[in-house]
């Protein structure tokens, strides 16, 4: 049977091209993502192995707090440096200081963007050569406060050279420094595309750290001392209450490598989801191809059975074909994936070098491709084995069967279950929405053959009316094989449904934000520090804005990760950090501008006071007058505990959301943090002053802060909308792969159907159907199938989109919005996808020789 399979495969190679592509594309994407991840992992492994090559131990704080950007670790007291240096076996030590810094280029634009790409570091220059992975290529190390060194990558990008004066932005200021040296990292200009600025230690502490604190202390041991012994010796030398831990060089390397891997794994999973969507769509395409091919070979199968092939052998023959397609498709797909990984690697500026092709990744991608093909081919293979030998002598009738009654019943049950799940999830605000979504999708898949006739008839009616005979024939052809039509449409349904879902979700989120701003926010401007809060505006900016004559209310707001203990230790004295959470800093003005109402107490926020939202009051059992312990990392008064009293409880159930769970007064905040900065400053103008009049004044105040932006409320909405659209576009872009595979499926179904209908098409041409009428009929057939698929997708998107938005109403989704125009465009585009897919089959059908089709020979 293997020979039969091979021969058939070769005979039908063009018919199988799209099947093959459906496997290969999905595997290419999956393989590309896996290889890219492996390569990036290896790159970072190498990078950190280099960074810590000569580091034998690191002394660092035990305390960490989690934030949106990963864990943040507290710093260590600079005075520990001498104690560490004095420990047995220590050859050299260096305190490290590191934070955010951005070089401003000659055009006044900040270089790099840590929110979107590689980090932008500012650090102290490490005097100890063994502990410093950077080497000077030009000039000298920074010694006095006004001097900096930058990496060669940044120097090349900006055109700065030794001797230039360069502006550098740090967390709350932009200052100019003399460039005294240029460094490189090993053999590369800059590690992982990051930008690096180095000052002397005191200046680095002032700008990106805090005076008398180090991020950590790096240690080089004496020759012959093991890292473990060294760490133990340092541990012994340090006081027990120092709140620090000692890790070996090997440990810190592994830890950093695994942190990076974990962060990368989110990205990998994100992309793999789209690869899986593409492969699921591929299953439909492959299933359909095999079904059609088996149907067309009914006589051949029957003949095999008649001459003595067993059912198992017929089934095996089809499955062997599937294995061959799966293997060849997957292997070629994986090779294409290597190309994709190379391409993406260069986009991501990975250091040039060979890709990391790990056997596990190869195996995962290829085995997945193979499984997908086999799963898809199983039912067609089983059907092939059921062909009775007698079928060899019969004419093959048109298969008109839609969904069987049982299938319909089960499908309807799933649909009902899906609707119930989504509605229940929407009302309860829980994950039942997702469960319902899956059930609904399965239900749609099951009832689709049953829906194919009525829905296609409906969709085809205007086509038949407008396009005359060609339209009517197109409609009838869609109806003639509901199972085939629905399997083709379902592939497109998945892609279109997901795209539509994200469109609905995004539109609802935007509408919710707009409404929240319109209904509750009474301000006119938002001054944003930029870069997602990594850099802030010094408190003086808000003060300066407040002094402008046109400004009525100025409300600075800041956020920071912190430890909050809502139930202070009863035994008194001992400091318990509590859970880490976000704490906001604001004043009464913010509550006014956000239209937030106090249920109890007030929002004056004097020293020692905290305002909490209703939800926190309920969940933590806090009432007015209760004490809460709040401490920040490196809190200058941590030892003495910061106890604040609940002075107000506010209602954040309005669509605007609130400021935060815990809102601390600005005075307390300033006392606790060395360099307090505002993340955003909200401004309300005096009545009668227009936005246009006030904007230049505000712009002037923030001008020195390169990343800061003055935005009117409308601009602010657009900015948020733009950020949301960026993610929407990314997701839609990735879903296009699935849509493309579905388009291949349409092309395949149409092409195979045309082959099947050769005689019929020949007859039509003989009795006077013009070539363009025939092309038109075939194209409209594809369009109707596509629109059918996208209508199913829309049903899914609207139901699940509604459910998800309603379920998230407490997370700020106040409005469910259907972007009707966009969705109509989406359906039209889906129709165009069908049209495009049918172009080649339609053209070929119209060029077919009539005589070949009608003559009996």
């Amino acid at each position: 049977m293997l020979k039969v399979s091979l021969r058939t495969l070769l005979a039908h190679k063009w018919r199988l091209l799209t099947t093959f592509l459906a496997v290969a594309l999905g595997v290419a994407f999956m393989g590309g993502v896996l290889v890219l991840t492996d390569t990036m992992n290896r790159t970072f492994d190498d990078l950190f192995a280099d960074v810590y090559r000569d580091t034998d131990a690191v002394v660092r704080s035990q305390q960490t707090v989690s934030s949106d950007f990963g864990d943040i670790r507290a710093q260590v007291d600079a005075s520990l440096l001498d104690e560490v240096a004095a420990a047995d076996g220590v050859a050299g030590v260096d305190g490290t200081v590191s934070g955010y810094a951005r070089i401003i280029d000659k055009q006044g634009e900040p270089l790099g963007d840590p929110a979107m790409g590689a980090p932008t570091f500012g650090s102290n220059w490490t005097e100890n050569d063994a502990l410093n992975p950077f080497d000077l290529t030009d000039g000298r190390a920074p010694t006095s406060d006004g001097e900096v060194v930058i990496d060669r990558g940044a120097a090349k990008d900006t055109g700065y050279d030794v001797g230039d004066t360069i502006p550098v932005q740090t967390r709350d200021t932009v200052d100019e420094y003399e460039l005294v040296g240029i460094v490189r990292f090993g053999t590369t200009d800059s590690p992982g595309g990051s930008t690096n600025v180095f000052w002397n230690t005191a200046e680095a502490q002032r700008l990106v750290g805090e005076p008398d604190l180090f991020a950590a202390i790096a240690v080089v041991g004496d020759d012959g001392v093991s890292q473990d012994d060294l760490a133990a010796a340092i541990n012994d030398a340090l006081p027990d209450d120092a709140g620090v831990e000692v890790v070996t060089g090997v440990e810190i390397t592994e830890e950093t490598q695994s942190d990076i891997k974990q962060q990368l794994s989110f990205v990998t999973v994100f992309f793999l989801i789209f690869a899986i969507v593409a492969l699921v769509v591929g299953i439909f395409v492959i299933y359909n191809s095999f079904s059609i091919i088996v149907a067309q070979r009914t006589r051949e199968m029957a003949l095999l059975r008649a001459v003595g092939a067993r059912r198992r052998q017929v089934r095996g023959a089809v499955l062997i074909e599937a294995v061959l397609i799966g293997v060849v498709g997957s292997v070629l797909g994986f090779l294409a994936g290597l190309g994709l990984a190379t391409l993406l690697g260069s986009v991501l500026q990975l250091p040039p070098g060979s890709l990391a092709v790990l056997p596990t990744s190869v195996a995962i991608a290829i085995v997945t491709g193979l499984i997908v093909t086999l799963v898809a081919a199983f039912i067609p293979a089983w059907r092939a084995s059921r062909v009775p030998p007698l079928a060899a002598m019969r004419d093959v009738a048109v298969d008109r069967t839609g969904a069987s009654r049982a299938r319909l019943v089960v499908g309807l049950a799933f649909l009902a279950l899906g609707v119930v799940g989504v509605v229940a999830g929407a009302l309860g605000g829980n994950l039942l929405v997702a469960v319902g979504a899956v059930a609904f999708l399965v239900g749609l898949g099951l009832v689709a053959p049953g829906l194919a006739r009525p829905v296609s008839r409906l969709l085809g009616a205007p086509v038949a009316r407008l396009r005359g005979a060609a339209g009517a024939i197109a409609r009838d052809n869609v109806l003639r094989n509901p199972r085939r039509t629905s399997a083709t449409a379902l592939a497109l349904m998945i892609g279109v449904g997901l795209v539509a879902f994200f469109l609905v979700f995004n539109a609802s989120l935007r509408a919710s934000i707009d409404q929240a701003l319109e209904d509750n926010f009474t301000g006119d401007f938002v001054v944003d520090s930029g870069t997602f809060g990594m850099v802030g505006l010094p408190a003086t900016v808000a003060e300066e804005i407040g002094r402008l004559p046109d400004v009525a209310i100025v409300a600075p707001v800041r956020w920071s990760p912190a430890f909050v203990n809502p139930a202070p230790a009863s035994d008194g004295g001992s400091f318990e950090p509590g859970e880490d959470t976000g704490v906001a800093g604001a004043d009464a003005g913010a509550f006014e501008l956000f239209g937030l109402t106090l249920i109890e107490g007030d929002a004056d926020l004097g020293p020692g006071q905290v305002v909490i939202n209703v939800g926190t009051a309920e969940s933590e059992g806090l009432a007015l007058g209760d004490e809460v312990q709040v401490s920040f990392l490196d809190d200058q008064r941590a030892e003495s505990e910061r106890k604040v009293t609940v002075s107000g409880i506010y209602d954040d159930s309005t669509a605007a959301g609130g400021i935060g769970d815990y809102v601390l007064g600005l005075e307390d905040w300033n006392a606790a943090v060395a360099s307090p900065t505002d993340t955003q400053v909200f401004v309300q103008l005096v009545d009668g002053v227009s936005v246009a009049e006030a904007e230049p004044e505000l712009e002037r105040v923030v001008e020195p802060y390169v990343t800061a932006e003055v935005q009117s409320v409308d601009e602010y909405k657009d900015m948020i909308g733009g950020q949301l659209d960026f993610f929407l576009n990314l997701i839609v872009g990735l879903l296009l792969l699935a849509v493309f595979i579905a388009a291949l499926g349409i092309a395949n179904t149409i092409a195979l159907s045309v082959i099947e209908r050769t005689r019929e098409l020949g007859l039509l041409r003989a009795v006077g159907m013009r070539r363009r009428q025939l092309r038109s009929a075939i194209r409209w057939e594809a369009i109707i199938i596509s629109v059918f698929g996208s209508v199913l997708g829309l049903a899914f998107a609207l139901l699940v989109g509604w459910g998800a938005v309603r379920a998230l109403r407490d997370e700020g989704f106040g409005v469910f919005e259907v972007p009707v125009g966009t969705l109509i465009v989406l359906v039209v585009l889906a129709g165009l996808v069908g049209l495009t897919a049918a172009l080649v089959p339609a053209w070929r059908a119209s060029r077919m020789k009539i005589l070949d089709a009608v003559s009996m020979e």
Partner: protein, 264 residues
């Protein structure tokens, strides 16, 4: 061309039609029609300078053993295939002057077809199949004419059934009705009874003869069945790509006798 059967008795309707046919342009004609398949050593001459006229209002049968070129002649005269040299006309229209699209329109509007099998579009009902050429043209069928044809088919209540629900004979009657529906100048039938049992075959042949005698249609039928040929007014005999004989008012016996000579 010689009429070897001039002395045969003529049916009463024939002389009427004949007198009209002589006075007008033939329904179709071929002039030195030559068709060669392939080239070089493998070239096969299917039609060897055939000249023939198909008179209006007559039922003409084209006979001949397989490979004689009878199907090729029909295909070329119907605009389904092109000649290597020579000319074919439908009415006074020279087919060689027409583009592919013009040929399609000619087939749609002026020619009717009945094939041996696969005559009907499986997704269309019987009546939709009958009116297909008009639908393709975006025209309404002449309802009186259509009623007449439909009545003649005897399909009655099966008009809204799809081909798969009709018997082979019924399917061929639908095909003949389709060929008649647009009142074409000429109908080409390619072995219309080839796939039918003899009773259904007789029905079709009767139907076609009535279309000629009672409705004044012109039919050219390719067949190798002497019984089928006996329904025609004239039988042309082809062998090796040439017309070798013509028989007026053929009977099955005479046709069979004539065919036997090919074997000798």
């Amino acid at each position: 061309m010689e009429n070897t059967s001039a002395d045969a008795p003529q049916p009463p309707t024939r002389s009427d039609a004949g007198s009209v046919g002589i006075a007008t342009t033939p329904a179709a004609r071929a002039v030195a029609a030559t068709k060669v398949f392939g080239h070089g050593d493998t070239a096969v001459v299917a039609l060897d300078s055939v000249s023939v006229e198909i008179p209006v209002g007559r039922y003409t049968a084209i006979m001949g053993p397989s490979g004689s070129g009878k199907s090729t002649l029909m295909h070329c005269m119907a605009g389904l295939d092109s000649l290597t040299s020579g000319q074919v006309f439908v009415g006074d229209q020279h087919l060689g002057d027409l583009s592919e699209d013009q040929l399609t329109l000619l087939r749609r509007d002026r020619i009717g077809f009945v094939f041996q099998a696969f005559n009907l579009v499986p997704t269309l009902t019987a009546i939709e199949n009958i009116t297909l050429p008009m639908t393709l043209a975006g025209r309404k069928a002449d309802s009186e004419w259509l009623d007449l044809i439909v009545k003649t088919t005897g399909l009655g209540d099966r008009l809204h059934h799809r081909p798969s629900e009709l018997s082979g004979g019924q399917q061929q009657r639908v095909a003949v009705a389709r060929a008649l529906a647009s009142k074409p100048q000429i109908i080409f039938a390619d072995e219309p009874t080839g796939n039918l049992d003899s009773r259904s075959g007789t029905e079709i042949l009767d139907f076609m003869r009535r279309a000629v005698r009672e409705m004044g249609q012109t039919i050219v039928m390719v067949t190798h069945d002497p019984v089928a040929a006996s329904y025609a007014d004239v039988a042309l005999f082809l062998a090796d790509g040439r017309i070798v004989d013509e028989m007026v008012d053929p009977t099955a016996e005479r046709v069979l006798d004539r065919l036997k000579k090919f074997g000798e």
